[in-house]
Symmetry: C2
Subunit: 826 residues, 2 copies
Amino acid sequence: MPQPPPPLASPLWRSLRTYQIFGANTEVGKTVFSTLLAKAAARRCPGGVAFLKPVSTGPDSEADDRCIHITKFAPDVSNKTLFQYKIPVSPHIAARLSNKVSHHPTLLASQSIPVSPSHHAQTIPSNEALLFQTRDYAAQCANIGRKWLFVETAGGVHSPGPSGTTQADMYAPLRLPVVLVGDSRLGGISGTISAFESLRMRGYDVESVVLFKEDKYQNYEYLSEYFAEHHDVPVAGVVEPPERRSRLEEDVRAMSQYYEEQSQHKDTSGVISHLESRHEQRIKQLNSMATEALHNIWYPFTQQSLLSPKDINVIDSAHGDYFQTLSPTSTASPSESDSLLRASFDGSASWWTQGLGHANPKLTLAAAYAAGRYGHVMFASGIHRPAAELSSTLLKGMENPRLTRVFFSDNGSTGIEVALKMGLRAAKLRYGWSAEEKLGVVGLRGSYHGDTIGAMDCSEPSGYNEKVEWYDGKGHWFDYPTVLCVDGKWRVNVPRELREALGEDADFGSLSEIFDVKGREEKGHHLRYEAFIRETLERLQKQGRKFGSVIIEPVVLGAGGMALVDPLFQRALVNVVRKSPELFHKPNTSFESPSSPTAWTGLPIIFDEVFTGLYRLGRFSSSSFLETHPDISVHAKLLTGGLVPLCTTLASENIFETFSSQDKTDALLHGHSYTAHPVGCQVALESVKEMQKMERGGSWDWAKAQGWTTSGTPVLSEQPAGDVWSTWPRDLVEDLSRQTDRVSGIWALGSVLAIHLKDASGTGYFSDAAQSVRDGLIAGDPEGVNGPWNVHCRVLGNVLYLMAGQKTTEESVARIGSLLRERLKE
Amino acid sequence: MPQPPPPLASPLWRSLRTYQIFGANTEVGKTVFSTLLAKAAARRCPGGVAFLKPVSTGPDSEADDRCIHITKFAPDVSNKTLFQYKIPVSPHIAARLSNKVSHHPTLLASQSIPVSPSHHAQTIPSNEALLFQTRDYAAQCANIGRKWLFVETAGGVHSPGPSGTTQADMYAPLRLPVVLVGDSRLGGISGTISAFESLRMRGYDVESVVLFKEDKYQNYEYLSEYFAEHHDVPVAGVVEPPERRSRLEEDVRAMSQYYEEQSQHKDTSGVISHLESRHEQRIKQLNSMATEALHNIWYPFTQQSLLSPKDINVIDSAHGDYFQTLSPTSTASPSESDSLLRASFDGSASWWTQGLGHANPKLTLAAAYAAGRYGHVMFASGIHRPAAELSSTLLKGMENPRLTRVFFSDNGSTGIEVALKMGLRAAKLRYGWSAEEKLGVVGLRGSYHGDTIGAMDCSEPSGYNEKVEWYDGKGHWFDYPTVLCVDGKWRVNVPRELREALGEDADFGSLSEIFDVKGREEKGHHLRYEAFIRETLERLQKQGRKFGSVIIEPVVLGAGGMALVDPLFQRALVNVVRKSPELFHKPNTSFESPSSPTAWTGLPIIFDEVFTGLYRLGRFSSSSFLETHPDISVHAKLLTGGLVPLCTTLASENIFETFSSQDKTDALLHGHSYTAHPVGCQVALESVKEMQKMERGGSWDWAKAQGWTTSGTPVLSEQPAGDVWSTWPRDLVEDLSRQTDRVSGIWALGSVLAIHLKDASGTGYFSDAAQSVRDGLIAGDPEGVNGPWNVHCRVLGNVLYLMAGQKTTEESVARIGSLLRERLKE
């Protein structure tokens, strides 16, 4: 596979003020304003101003051609057009129709973009090609000491570029600050405000609005007030250019005089001063933010005394899988030509939340729609469409006949507390325990369910919680066999202490074979597991231990150290518990066995799918890997596609009925102010439906074909037994696992790749074993063709993990994979 | 004061399909499409179609006048224009310039709107007048059995209306479903998409996009694909009307033929069918939502078995202080002319979160901007502008020299757990307690700090928590004197059990006198309080009780029953604890007293301002009422102005340093996935700054002047000692308090009004005493002039409370106050 072009650093240099000029509509005077601003800037920095038109469409009469306009009236401004089409229509049509693409071979030659000079007549430049070339031109300007660069767009903000993507979306990864040329004509107030909103909701900073002053419609007057009041953005007005003269020379003379006068006018130079100070302010803020943050912020999960400003990731923006972060060179020994920003692959998927990419316009508009339709509305005894639709979508998507109810809260911790309150109450009432008899949970060693005290209490004592004052773990936590690829082999690893009970490590031909739990049951692999679990529970019962729920993270224990648990073991645990109510009821009391097949038996089974669910591991629900159905299921993180906090706790009717009575105090007395906030529900609905659509449409077939599926060909969405796959190629996983000097094992599933490194210290979560590999990824490539780039990632003790989003491309994965191979060899 | 016009129910009737026609720009063919759609609808329902132009501006040539266009080419369509201006400019200019306003006296006569017929030449209709008249016309249509109503706007979506508000904002409270007329000209793709986005982010449902089919720019082709892919909205194309003929008769003939043909064309009738089915679907969904919700949702804090569908508040949308909810008549015995929606005053401020009104466009755009710039980015060791700016804004706004650090979490409960982890650790380390010695908190009886187990554990056992399995309250909770207006007198009420220690009830001349804590200290009022507190703590110490923090809700205990605590008592508690480290340290150990004046002494003082802070009680911080500075302060609810969940826990440097070491495990190991999510931070920043601006600008002077300030005149923003005020008029509070047969006492502060009703049963939170008053408010006025309206509110046991937003108007308060007076008399 050819190496894809490296990620794109957003263009920002200390010395070069780059502004993108968008128009509220076509024919609003963008060319005139570009020329005026360039000319006004050139008065301050003679020879220091450049102008770029990435895409230009006709008419190609001399007077109207933008480059020529600039050339004629601002002769000391360098200018360039990347793609020129001669037909005066939108670029997406022009690009298809035109056979007169006049590209610029010098520039193209310096780029490894998929534009072949010999086929230029047929070529429609890709979005990436346009972005790379725009950045490259800006870099050239910075290198030769230019002070200003104006990048003019074509048509209105949403006019389609050559590929068909609208420009506001296409240029978003550059996030250049914007000068918006407003529309001074009738109807222009509306168009200007809407264009502004379209830019703003894509994260652009519109620093200035400029338009012609015109007496009849007075748009300038209205917009000045409007933008001052609503957006704190200055609006500058300029008198209209002279009427067009019929004779070219006269026209040129009149325009020339107009430009001379207006470029010296205080309103025009005021815009330049403002843009200059905004540029300085942006850089100043970027440079001071880390220091200020260490001063004002109390960071989560961070020993702050070990940090200095250079350790703080200063994030200017994020798009798709990449952050734009402040480049370390900019603070160390800055030179004028150092790029201040670098592209950072979001290798922890922003704490495991990212699904559809940062700044996904669909999610933004979903959030804005719900905000505009409702804001937040209180949810107790209320209902709104986003909550209603999300509820039915989730219940249906789970394909779990037990789950009928959705309870909303704000994050995984609170959702787990809700699940606990549900499960424990159900067990207490059926088995007749009193309020004083605190019931424990049955879980797995190394589980982690969140940071609130109640969520912490369902994990065993560990470095996470042992210093927390009110922590009081309640339960029993089983040790268990894990799955790892070790030296190229897929292995179920049995901890030394369990070998007597569970047998030795076992190798399998593939990960899919391990996940074929029913096939393995036919071979009796589960018998030892079940016997061990039952014996343990019997022993605990004899000790007087009382339990009220099982709570596990299906398949992967995330925060506890990215352990891939043998799914057969978790399945055995659920099955033993469900078959054995006699292990859990109160001694010498009777209880009623439920008749419904969807009622819980033994103990309520809670699955914490906060991390593992909703396609993180490749499937809608991670319970499907165990081929079992929990009674309660908790979902967050990917639920809202990485945008806002929201959590749902799904429960069975049988559990729900436990709280049902004529007594108000029997209700589940839990609820947060923003419970089921419409913004979160609408975003979640959009996000879940989009991922379901991707699954149905085979969006991940390329990943499945990376050696994962048995046949080697893409598989359909109904998973056959044991069908597992990952965004990360199987050969990458197996190759890395052969570095047995450093790697103790590795696994990949869905979008997760976890590398367990050898750790002599044995300090678990607080180990430094993975740190050096991480440092190598974070150093990245400071000399990337499209600017510096790196991989931002997190470690959990001796485990380095990388997590892709659901929209991450094959190319991105290949690039990160290559870097990882290099860094692991170092 | 004249009674303000009643709230506006959004127009929705089973029989009448009402659609609003917006244009992507001016001159895109709105008139042609309106006529076409009206004509096509009239083919199905002869005589059943109406057309409304709320505001029309020139040109007044016969051919272009919209009404005449409709009259001429769709003669069986009723039509009306509310305000006609003859000048062909935007309505906001026309309204100012025109002396030819031709209003419609019949319509105006039926309305109590502030438009005086004798001054019509100078009149600029208010937004309300336009909305009321639009709704009234729709109601008339529904009453006489019309089936369709098309409401045509003027210019583009954001073209200003007569008052200057843009139409997209002005018409938002009606939230009529929309037909958007796209722009088929060059640049029209951009304008159409932007216009759509501006509507969508204001909560409009754009049900159909229509535009002319045109070959050169092919906007129809592009937009069809675009809207199908991105928004699932159908786009219909219609051939362009014939070129204008020079002779009027010929032109009329050509247009007539065009309308005849095109109104029968399947593409046009397809739009009508689609609009018809969307209307039916909307009503069907509204009618089924309550039943579905009771089936799928598990409600917070609700004994669901006591609810039937009629108890569920079905919320179609919300704007400002009002929900639009499904009217009960629509489900009981629906007739064609029953309004399906009613306006419901959000009397619980959506669980105390609302500040700047539902669907505030500034907050929406703030959310959209952050979503578009970042999405979410992981926060551990990262920083982004919204978090940075919000942190410094909060730290500055608190005016508390102790607070230097901001820790982010997702809601009040988690923020309290963070505060507890901070405070308890600090006390443990200074006083040398071991990990096993669980430290309790010092608090007040009836406190409530949230629903997670850790937050619950810092409240004493109560109906809220006694059935929760892992609840284990740790602390001592003081009883305290409360403040109430009783029979017209402002009284500090001492609980019977405390009278021996604290003295009898005491009356004051005003609420401000009670809040003049320093003045009262000069008179020695605090001495008995301090003695009582000290003696109690000494006794507890002798019993071996150990404490690690004080945690209180300053001034008002919210969820615990809306108790207004004597601020002098809370101040005394803080002062005694701070002066008395000897009451809290470990026996027979020494400890180091801090030298910094901003370090905590005695115990860390935690203020839970989740409900009381950020202007809920009229001030930025409710700690200012106590004239003291906590060491830790928790803020949520109003923080994000009622949009998305976010919480900040502010702490002192001295507390922060407790966690600082070279050991990673000493860090505060707490953090949620969406910690400091940029959307929440940006919204919070916008919200907090807006409220600060309102305070500076005297936005609440009208409220202060309602009898609250001593002088009776508005006061400046720096509160003099004891200066308190409420959105609710003092005479309302005092009058209601004289209904001593039902009211045991009442108080108002900031935007909160709490009526304590006499309750014979003594069941506290689960009492039904306030229910009948609440039922009266919820019944509201089903025959309001602008459609049915009511007051949605919540009770806390025997307390009925009403909560306004920070933008609630004097008129709204007056109206709700009148209704309340009536209902309390019943």
